[in-house]
Amino acid sequence: MAAAFTVTLRWFRKRFSLWSILSLPGIAWLVLFFLAPLYVVLAIVFGAVDPTFRTPTPIWNPAHWRAGQFTYVIDRIFGSDAVFGPALLRTAIYVLAASVVCVTVAFPVAYYVARLSGRRKGLILALLIAPFWISYMMRMLAWVNLLADDGLVNKLLSFGGLFNVHEQWLSGKSIVVILGLVYGYVPYMILPLYAGLDRLPQSVLEAARDLGANRARAFVRVVLPMCRPTIVAGVLLTCLPMLGDYYTNDLLSGSPSTAMVGNLIDQTVLTPGETGYAGAFVMIVLVVSLIPMLYYVRSVAKSELTAT
C-alpha cells in the first residue's frame, strides 16, 4: 500500500511541477465560479422559454442553441428599432466620464499619500479605506438624503436662505448619476494608484531632476509613463463594476432617462420571458469589458519588456 502510494506520488511529481499543483485550486475556482456560470448564461441566452411560466429553459447542448433572444437584443441595439441603443451609449458615456473624474481626483490624492504624506501615511490610508467599512448602498442612501429637495446640499447652496435654491437633484440628472459613480468607486482607484506610486523608485525621479527636468517635466516624462499600467489597472478596477452598476441610478435618479445597461439587466432578469435578454446584455458587457482588459495585459507586457 505504502509502496503504491510512493510510486503514485513519484509519478505525480514527475508529471507535474509543484507550481502546477498549487494552481489547481485557482483553476477549480475559475471553472466552478466563472466558466460554469458563464456556460449557464449561454445556455439561457441561447435557450428556450417555458410556454406557461415564461421562465428560462436552458438548452445545454450547443448544437441545439437558438439565437432568437440574442438577435432580438442585438437588433434593438443596432437596428432600425434601436430602443436599447441609447442606454448602452449612455452607459459608455457615464462610465467614461466617471473614470476620467476618478483618475483626476484619485491621482493627486494617491500621489500625496505615496510620496509626500510622510509619517501620516498610515492614517491617511486608513481614512481612504474607511468608506469600504460602510456598504455601498448605505452610502448612496446617505446621498439621497443630502440631495433631497430640502437636503443639506440645497441648504448649503442657498447660503442659509439667502438664495432661493430648489434644485431637484434626484429627478433624473445625468450629472448626479456620474458623480454618484465617482463617489462610489473612487477608493478603488486610489488604492492601486497608491500602490503603484509608492513603488516608484526615488532615484529615477532624482535622475530626471539632475538631468535638468523641472518638476512638471519630470512628472510628465517620468512619473506618468511609469504609472501607466497602474492607471490602467485603476481604471479597470473602477470601470468594470461601473458597467454593471444599476443601484446608483436606481437610488439617485430612478428615471428611465438615465438608465444604464445594468438597469436593463436588472429589469429583464426576473421578468417572465425576458431572462434571456438579461443574459444577452451580460454577454455584451462581458465582451466590452474584455477590450480594456486586453489593453491592460498588453500595457503590462509592454512595460515588462521595457524594464528588461
Binding site: 445556455a43 406557461t52 430602443v83 431637484q168 432617462s257 429589469q267 426576473l270
Partner: protein, 420 residues
C-alpha cells in the same frame, strides 16, 4: 536570402494528445448533462397545454386534481410546527402574527415570514419546492398558473367560516368560482396621490386627472408605479380606452406613444417607493395605490401635516381596482394550521389590526367609508382612498394576458425603461 518565415504546420496529434482531446470532448457534454441534471433535481412542476385565463366575463371553476384533495374536517393542528408565510415585505402586521401564535400557543406554533420582491420571483421559487411555504399571498392574475401546476391546495371550507365576513363579491369570485383555492386578503385602487404644497393644480377637478402626470410643470416631481401593467394601463385610461388588457396592436401603439410623451414631458421617476417619497417631499405627485397613500401618512416628516396629502380615484369607480389573495400551498407541511391562519386573518378584529399596519384595506363587510375615517384608519382628506365594494362592479381589472400578448406588453415597457 533567407526564406520567408512560415507559420509552422500543426503536427498530427499523437495518441496521447488524441486521448486528451477525446477526454475534453467527453467532458463538455458530461458537464452539460450534469448541469441539466442539477436543474431537474431542483424540481419544477411543468404544465402541459394552454392555460385557462379567468376574466370577469369568463369566470372559471378550477378543477381539483386527483391526489390533491382538500384536508379532512376537524383535524387537530400540527404541533411544534413552523408555519411559513411567503409575502411581500411589510405586507402583514407583526401584531397579527403574534396574536395568532398566542392563540395557538398550546400547539407551540411558530410563524415565519419570507419575502419576495414580485410575484414572478415568488412563483419561480415556489416551483422549485426548495422551501415548504404554507401560505402565499399572490395577486389573482396568478391563479391559473398556480392551479395548472398544482402548486396550491384546495381549501376545506369547514375551517373557514369567517368567509361570510368579507364582501359578497369575494365569496364566489370570477377568478376562482366557489372560492376553491383562494380567499381575499386586501383590496386597493390605483389613482393619483399628490401634495398640495408642491402641486398647485387640484388634480381631482381636472377634466382628465391623468393629464397631471404628463404635465411638464411638474417635471422632476412626478413618478409612476414600477409595474408594467399598472403603469401602461393608466396610459390607456388617459387616452380614454377602457380595455386595459387589450391585445390590439393599435392600442399598444397608443401606450407606446403615451409613454414616450410621458418621458418627454414630466420625465417621471419609475418606482414603488412612493409611500415614502411623496411624504418625504421628493415627489409632488405620482400614480399610487390606495394602500400606499394611506401608509404615506406614517412617513411624513415631523411638523408636516397629513392634511396636505390628497388622493384621486374616479369617484364613479371607473378606474383600476385590484385585490390580493391568500392561498395554501401544496408543498406546505402544516395544512391545518394554514387553514386556521387564513380563518384568523379573515376575522374582522385581526383584519383591522393588519389594516392599521399595512395600509391596505381588507374587504370586510363591517368596513364602510364612514367608519374607516371615523375610526381613524384613514384621515378625512384621504377618504377617497377607501375602497368601496361597488368599485368592483364597474372598475377595470388587470388580467392575466395570453403569452404572446404579455410579451408584446413587456416589450413596450422594456423600451420605456431603457429610456430610449
Amino acid at each position: 536570402m533567407s526564406e520567408p518565415r512560415r507559420r509552422p504546420r500543426r503536427a498530427p496529434p499523437s495518441r496521447r494528445q488524441f486521448l486528451r482531446l477525446a477526454g475534453t470532448a467527453a467532458v463538455v457534454p458530461a458537464t452539460s448533462g450534469l448541469l441539466a441534471a442539477c436543474v431537474r433535481a431542483a424540481g419544477s412542476r411543468s404544465v402541459s397545454g394552454a392555460l385557462t385565463l379567468a376574466a370577469p366575463d369568463h369566470p372559471v371553476l378550477w378543477p381539483i386534481s386527483a391526489g390533491n384533495d382538500p384536508i379532512a374536517d376537524n383535524l387537530t393542528p400540527e404541533r411544534n410546527a413552523t408555519l411559513r408565510l411567503y409575502n411581500y415585505a411589510d405586507y402583514i402586521a407583526p401584531a397579527a402574527i403574534k396574536a395568532f401564535e398566542k392563540k395557538y400557543a398550546r400547539y407551540n406554533v411558530n410563524v415565519t415570514v419570507s419575502t419576495f420582491n414580485d410575484t414572478d420571483e415568488a412563483i419561480t421559487k415556489i416551483r422549485t419546492g426548495a422551501v415548504p411555504y404554507d401560505i402565499y399571498f399572490p395577486s389573482y392574475d396568478q391563479i391559473s398558473r398556480l392551479v395548472a401546476a398544482e402548486l396550491v391546495r384546495p381549501l376545506n371550507h369547514s375551517y373557514l367560516t369567517n368567509i361570510d365576513k368579507v364582501w359578497a363579491t369575494f365569496q364566489n369570485p370570477w377568478y376562482d368560482q366557489r372560492w376553491r383555492y383562494t380567499v381575499p386578503y386586501t383590496v386597493y385602487t390605483t389613482g393619483i396621490g399628490w401634495r398640495t404644497d408642491k402641486v398647485s393644480t387640484d388634480i381631482a377637478s381636472l377634466a382628465n386627472p391623468y393629464d397631471a402626470l404628463w404635465d411638464a410643470k411638474y417635471r422632476g416631481e412626478t413618478a409612476v408605479i414600477d409595474d408594467w401593467h399598472t403603469a401602461m394601463a393608466m396610459c390607456l385610461l388617459r387616452a380614454g380606452k377602457n380595455d386595459i388588457n387589450t391585445a390590439s396592436s393599435a392600442d399598444l401603439q397608443v401606450i407606446s406613444q403615451q409613454l414616450s410623451e410621458l418621458q418627454r414631458t414630466s420625465q417621471p421617476k419609475v418606482t414603488i417607493t412612493m409611500y415614502n417619497d411623496l411624504p418625504a417631499g421628493q415627489l409632488g405627485q405620482c400614480q399610487m395605490w390606495s394602500g400606499d397613500v394611506i401608509n404615506a401618512q406614517y412617513y411624513l416628516p415631523k411638523h408636516t401635516p397629513v392634511s396636505l396629502l390628497r388622493y384621486w380615484f374616479p369617484p364613479d369607480g371607473h378606474g383600476m381596482v385590484d385585490n390580493d389573495l391568500m392561498v395554501i400551498l401544496r408543498d406546505g407541511k402544516n395544512p391545518v394550521l394554514a387553514h386556521l391562519f387564513v380563518q384568523f386573518m379573515l376575522d374582522t378584529k385581526n383584519a383591522l389590526t393588519n389594516f392599521s399596519f399595512v395600509g391596505y384595506q381588507p374587504p370586510q363587510r363591517s368596513l364602510v367609508p364612514d367608519t374607516v375615517v371615523a375610526r381613524g384608519f384613514v384621515p378625512k382628506n384621504l377618504s377617497t382612498a377607501v375602497v368601496q365594494e361597488e368599485y368592483f362592479d364597474v372598475g377595470y381589472r388587470l388580467l392575466e394576458l395570453t403569452v404572446d400578448n404579455d410579451a408584446a406588453w413587456h416589450r413596450i415597457w422594456l423600451a420605456f425603461k431603457a429610456g430610449g
